[in-house]
């Protein structure tokens, strides 16, 4: 029953969030600010993780295809598949759920407990839309770029580790990256990314918005936001994979 009640509250909140904005120019300013806060600010951590994960995936592939019957370009091919289909869209989105989700929930939650949301409401502003919509739109717009950068850096990291350790020649790795390349893989990854971006921002916004109490509850909301965003990402990853690849 509690889950149903929570889902109901979430859906009602989303109805409020997608109301027409009071003043477009203010929302535009908010959107640009959120694109910077939630998107550009996440690039550093995504870049570091992507390069190292790409490197590790390549090394693991090289050890697993240690057979003369399997061509070396398989390393590049398998790394590409792992990175594009799963690592960048799903694992990076999970990492972003932690970073972006906790930021959204704690920011909105703190505004709630310090009566800043009440102040907005008394002014006659649709607070759900004013606070959550720019964050959702910013995430949905920025995540695909972040994920594309993550893919590039992970593949570059793989190339670097493969070549530097002598596990695979540069030409073999690059041939593997190009071998049987399907554009749909990128489309599939970006569709997942957009859905994950929406889930992270909206679920975290929901937990932040309904915070009540003090600093302890803000922390709890932030934790709940990260945990539930991650669960939703895993669940929708399965659903979307079945829908798009089966």
């Amino acid at each position: 029953m509690k889950i149903l009640s929570e889902v109901g509250k979430y859906l009602i909140l989303m109805k409020e969030v997608f109301h027409k904005p009071e003043k477009a120019s203010i929302y535009k300013k908010q959107l640009l600010l959120e694109m910077d806060n939630l998107g550009l600010d996440s690039l550093g951590i995504v870049a570091i993780i992507s390069v190292f994960m790409g490197a590790v995936v390549t090394i693991q592939m090289a050890f697993n295809v240690d057979s003369p019957l399997i061509p070396l370009y398989t390393i590049g091919f398998a790394t590409r598949k792992s990175v594009i289909l799963e690592f960048s869209p799903t694992i990076v989105s999970l990492i972003l759920a932690g970073k972006v989700g906790s930021r959204i929930a704690s920011e909105i939650g703190t505004m709630r407990v310090t009566e800043q949301i009440d102040a907005l409401e008394i002014m006659g502003i649709n607070t759900a839309s004013f606070l959550i919509l720019p964050k959702i739109v910013a995430c949905v717009l920025m995540y695909p770029f972040i994920i594309l950068i993550s893919m590039f850096l992970a593949l570059a990291g793989g190339w670097l580790s493969g070549v530097l350790t002598g596990l695979v020649a540069s030409s073999d790795y690059v041939y593997g990256l190009q071998y049987q390349f399907k554009m749909f893989d990128i489309t599939y990854a970006l569709i997942k990314t957009v859905v994950f971006a929406f889930l992270t921002a909206s679920v975290s916004g929901h937990y932040g918005y309904f915070t009540s109490g003090g600093a302890l509850e803000v922390g709890r909301s932030s934790t709940k936001a990260v945990v539930n965003s991650s669960i939703m990402i895993i669940l929708f990853n399965l659903i979307l994979t079945q829908l798009l690849l089966a």
Partner: protein, 249 residues
């Protein structure tokens, strides 16, 4: 003028407000006083629409706040300024941005007009050269004054203040009280202040409503409150040794 007619509010089994009837006059500082937990904060939150009321009516100059549509409520809310206990300034905005925020949302004023208005309001609350400071860089009294400047920036018809003196020293409290009182008379605002500070009651209480256990127990002004025979009022007013000594003299 705000009319509160037969307003009741219950949380679960607990009836917090019981059939409250009171009128808050225009151009006066109307005080809601009472002990902690008496229901005065709930009454204020009902007045501004943060809590829906269970029964009764709240009229803002004849417009029933409790029965009108969401869009009509928004219009009335744009005529309301509110000063929160902690100031409730927006952390991500500096002082100037906080003050011009209501103007940016609801007017088509140019940026220069908005800055002029912000400077005027900040000067009115005796704050200058703080435009670019952030709330975290302000003292408690300065935060309250910025919050008052924000509350009056859009020329509100109604001003609500929730415990405006909490956390302030007595001297700063008097400055804030006088400021609110002056602004109320100058702009003919209907001001409602929620407080349990006896200094405020004696300084600016043009009209006082005493809430006791969810009931409107007593109504009067700053003169009559000192001479009433009402036991509960006297227990509240003369709760401290200092006020008892003053009464004895």
């Amino acid at each position: 003028m705000i009319d509160v007619i037969n307003v009741s509010k219950t949380f679960g089994e607990h009836e917090v407000l019981k059939n409250i009837n009171v009128r808050f006059d225009k151009g006066k500082t109307n005080l809601i006083i009472g002990q902690s937990g008496s229901g005065k904060t709930v009454l204020m939150k009902c007045l501004v629409g943060l809590f829906p009321i269970d029964s009764g009516t709240i009229n803002f100059d004849g417009r029933s706040f409790s029965t009108i549509s969401y869009e009509e409520k928004k219009k009335i809310r744009q005529e309301i300024g509110m000063l929160f206990q902690g100031g409730a300034l927006f952390d991500s905005m500096n002082v100037e941005e906080n003050v011009i925020f209501p103007l940016s949302m609801f007017t088509d004023m140019s940026i220069n007009e908005k800055i002029d208005r912000a400077n005027f309001c900040l000067k009115r609350v005796n704050l200058e050269n703080v435009n670019k400071l952030f709330p975290s860089e302000l003292s408690g009294g300065m935060k309250k004054r910025v919050a008052i400047a924000r509350a009056i920036s859009a020329n509100p018809k109604y001003l609500f203040c929730d415990e405006p003196n909490s956390g302030l020293d007595p001297a700063t409290s008097i400055v804030i009280d006088n400021l609110i009182s002056e602004i109320t008379q100058e702009y003919q605002i209907t001001t409602v202040i929620n407080t349990h500070d006896m200094n405020s009651v004696i300084e600016i209480g043009d009209k006082i409503a005493f809430i006791y256990k969810g009931n409107l127990w007593w109504e009067g002004d700053k003169n009559s409150i000192l001479n009433t025979d009402n036991k509960e009022i006297n227990d509240f007013v003369y709760a401290t040794e200092l006020t008892r000594r003053i009464k004895g003299k």
